[in-house]
Amino acid sequence: MKRTLITLIFFTFVIANDQIPAPPQKHPILLKNGVIHTVSNGVINGAILFEKGKITRIAEHISPPAGAEVIDLDGKHVYPGLIAAVSGIGLTEISAVAVTNDHSERGDFNPNVRANVAYNPDSQIIPTTRSNGVLIANVAPGSGLVSGQSSIMLMDGWTWENATMEHPSGLHVNWPDMGIRSGGWFRMPADKQIKRRQESLKMLDEMIKEGRAYARLRQSKSSKAEDYHDSDLRLESLIHYVRGEKPIYVHANEVRQIEAAIHWANRHEVKIIIVGGKDAWRTADLLRTNNVAVIYEGVTALPNRRYEDYDQAYKGPALLHEAGVQFCISTSGSAGGSYRVRNLPNQAAMAAAYGLPKDVALRSITLSVAEVIGIADRVGSLESGKDATLFISNGDPLEIRTNVLQAYIQGRKIDMGDHHKSLYHKYQEKYRQLGILQE
């Protein structure tokens, strides 16, 4: 009977054509006879109980509280929801169709724009992504020099307000090119490149200085008219960052960019996170001694330079881990890649194949992400008191062949259907009708 129940749970999605956001958790849910991968506290063969959206207990044996729904996992696995550390998900649907893109505001300097207001909770990409266990995404704009502010979004909700877990999570800066690019389609002359770089760096310095000055002016308690300062949305948005309350995500891959960003942050006493970090291994000491974390984006990227080791990108996380740099793994945060956020676990697995310990690899897409983006008090691991944002799988999610069977976000049971599964079932039906597929 229990098995039937579970089967029902795992395969009801086939009916739905459009996914329906889940209602709040009404009764306690106990998952038992499972392999509970807590991330923070090892693996427990046993049970996990969550109530009102929070994990309340993890133990080998838990007696179900009154009114609890009990699900026998029969040896299946439970993991904390995977977290996309930077992503354009929800801001784009089809990157080649311009009107479906909302990630790149016009102009070079947009610190004020906020991602969550443009997050489309009905994007078809979201269900396909959570089908692979990614349940939270830090959604960021991505254009110009200062792109805007990111928001941490739950991968389920009726509206963007429902789906917002944290806003703002940070300010996004695309660090200027520090070298001279040549070849390919890039044809800007060297002197122009240098001039542009110098202007951009000056703008970044000015941004912090002006932001500080503005914060002080707006703080003034004086009621005199002459002390009043008119509002400026761009500068207003910088207040969190000039005060060091929230991090600035600096998108930088090349070693000179990373170094320049760290010196910039020290000069202005702001908190930064490096996003991209292909060359981070070349400057690991600087990152570690300055406590700068890296969101490593390109595990499956090609090596940055022709002569680099063929597995340079694969082993990047292992090198950072060995050097004691705080890091997590992400797919690229570029909006065009939103549809591949679902392959986040494969990125971690590739790092594991090339030297990163397996448990660290899992951590690098769960708890480590939560720590880097500042939500580890709520998610990232399976612990009492944390959100019941987790999933059940038939194996190690870092293995491609594994499938996620059921996900919960803050205890809410997620509709596991998606556009792809719907089409799959639609066309299975076609071939059944044609007699090509047997029942």
Partner: protein, 1007 residues
Amino acid sequence: MKTKLILFLWIFSFLFAQTGPAKELHRNPPRAWALTNATVHTAPGKTIDNGTVILRDGMITAVGARVKIPKQATILDMDGKHIYAGFIESWLDVKTAKKDTSLQAYWNANMRAYLNGADLFHPKETSLKELRGLGFTTAHITPKGGIFQGASALVQLGETPKILSNSVAQVVEYANGGWGAKEYPTSLLGAIAFIRQGLIDADWYNKTQSILAKYPDGNAPIQSDRSLAALAKAKQSKQPFIFRTGNELYIDRSSNIADEFDLNLWIKGNGYEYRRIDEMPASFMIVPLDFPAKPEVADPHNALQYSTEQLKHWDLAPDNAAKLASAGFQFALTSDGLKNKSDFRKNLSRAVQRGLSEADALAALTTHPAKEMGQSKRLGKVAPGYIGNLVITDGSYFDSKTKVNAVWIDGNEYDVAPDPMVDASGDWTLKEGTNIWTLSLDIPEDEIEMSIDEEFDMIYLSGSLKLNNKYIELSNLALDQDRLSFSVEADTVLQKGVTRFKGTITDQKATGQVTYADGSTRLWSANFDSALEKKEKKTETEQASDLSLVFPEGAYGLDSSVPSPKTILVNDATIWTSGPKGVLKEWDILFQNGKVKKIAKNISLPRGKALIIDGKGKHVTPGLIDAHSHMAGESINEGFENVTAEVRMRDVIDPNDVAMYRALAGGLTTINLLHGSANPIGGQNVVMKLRWGSFSNDLIFKEAPQGIKFALGENVKRKRSYGRYPETRMGVEQVIRDAFRAAQDYKKAWDTYNKDVKLQRSSIPPRRNLEMDALVEIMEGKRLLHSHSYRQDEILMLTRIAEDFGFTIATFQHVLEGYKVAERLAEHGAGASTFSDWWAYKYEVVDAIGFNGTLMHNAGVNVSFNSDSDELARRMNLEAAKAVKYGGLDEAEALKFVTINPAKQLKIDKYVGSLEVGKDADFAIWSGHPLSTYSICEQTWLDGKQYFSLENDKYLRERDGKVRNDLIQKILKAPDNGGKKMKAKGRQGNRFHSCDAFESYLMEGGE
């Protein structure tokens, strides 16, 4: 001190050799000369000390140590001088008009074979002077512009250049406008097809002309074409075709074309010949001495931006000529490509220091080009009967400090850097009134050189006057020919104020007048005491690079032949055969002579008979196959026209692409290098084995059938700025249908012609058309069709066209909606080569699903997963795992998506794709389950040779790391020798050629 005779000669042409009237009065300066007491380099390696050269009426009449000097000859004492035969500048570009606007023009402006370099040569006196300054007396004039650029000419560089030959060679360049250009071709692919079609057209045109000459009445006239006529003539008369080349690959491409069309091949080289010297054709080459500037490595971060291959090229480029010579090549050297022509001497001297013998260097400037250009009886030697072209130097030409004093062209002298009229440097005793001064004068060497460009040979120098140990610096010091002047400002010994000296030097004496501050004057005189001690500038002698070459050049190039034991035995491994035997746990597999020999539970061999690999815990799979790749393709799209069936990927293979090595490190051994998806009918693909280190032609999978790429949907219907048809899927269908109809008509015309002897004798034949040939081959089933496709409607459409024209499509590529019409694919018999899980990057993939592969497979379609990406190609085994994830396919079946299934699609399954006895020994050894994300590829073997192993990779990393470090140290210590700045190419190797991978690259964190 010695005063030297300076001859001021005005140059006049022979009056009897010109047709125009005399200007003013007839001029008849002496026409016979005896150049005596010189070191005469009569020919490469042959020298006469104290020799005499007799010139008369523009020709050399006698040369030797004991030559009778004719009475008419004016004797020029060349004591201390060297005489060489005039040098030939083997490459001098002249620009051509953009387009043939005549009624005899080819359809495309890139065809300019009718042009003649000599007609376009309008040199400025300054550029002639510059050339003569290097010792060049003759130049090979080469038209530049378009693809077939015209005939080159050989011209004397005298005041009125004389043509020695006006059709030396037909010049060809792989020119193309690049993506977005306004005319075909827009790529290297198209340029090569253009060359091939042009040569075919020339033959056809020639044939039509002879038919029309014999049967003028029965045939409709055809359009005249002066370029085709010129090409046909050049081809028939075995005139050389010289191809401009950018690197060693272009030489190989030129060699392929020459072989195909039986051309007399010449190569305009590029400085990279050393990289594949054993593969270079034995053709005459004209090679530049264009060495790169020092890479900017002082900033360690900047140093990272250079590829190892670039750093090595900095050290190896100056060795190129020596390497060519020692490999026995006949080549000429040219200053072409140098930004500063004066670098030619310096670079030549460097090449000589690095091992090019002076004889070989001299031959490259004289006898080799003279012989090749048909002038061996009158150019290149100092010998009787040769044209009076000479170079006069004050030392060995190959020492860059040696000055070229003059050149003689047609028996006329042209001053270059004559010795100064007087050599005043040194100490003089100067008497002025009662004062006896010591005058010290210093004429720096480089001041003299600078003065060459001056209108007058004014020499500026420095000096001092000394009296009773008191020095006074001279100011306004000048030596104008033999006239010396300077001024002195003094307080006590002379009058207060500025005193001016002016005088004339004759032999070892100088006399003149001094003008004091008050305007009074007096005579002064001076006697030469002692010459200044010449400061010998120390120049470091360069040594040849001690770097060893690797293949291809740069990081990870192979430095010895890859391990290729005759017999390899892998023991106790899990063998995924992808064949009828399925997956075999703890079995043995034996490879011999590059083939699978035996697969059995236990194979034992006598010790030492085989390389034995312990396979315990390991997994062995066939080498993986990628049916859609763009790696190792230097050019991907010829997209200007909607049908470009004539272009061939095999022509543009780039064996230097590191993507191949990276893919080998992921177990991949075979790829299908496809044309891009810019047009409905694209170019011909080439199936390749990743024999890393091999040269282009050796990468080709010879047994694989020929194929072609088609493309449907968004990429081909996208609006082009120049307005290309089609812009809808409706139009795409019509374009393809029309192409096949035209091909049917073409075939009909040929069949008719071939059957009818009378037609063949008296009518204009059909024109062979490379584009139509390819289309006919598709219809005849001889050329496999691989079509880029997404939506179900277009997939269905193309199967219907194929059936209408009687052939079967080999594969649909991408075919992301293949799952919607799987029964049609199965019924038609097409394979499906798809992405595992890509979607949402463009509108036509909005319904693309990960279950596509499994659904099609279950409906009976042969399915493979492809990469279309240099990145993804490194982990195709994990792509296969997605067929298990999406749709639950059996694991062994899933692996077949990247092994035997693509092999079947490419019709190479007889050789590769599974581990079965008799098939190629292409296999990969994995650390664990090949579909596990935690497994890595440990070894990759191809044809029984080990092209990748973790162990060897480690060795290569260490080797290349050391090469980089050592080179950077060498560069940091090296002098600045000028040259062109290298654009840092450290990031090269990450290419984005693909139909649709670009966005995905960005996503995956790629560039």
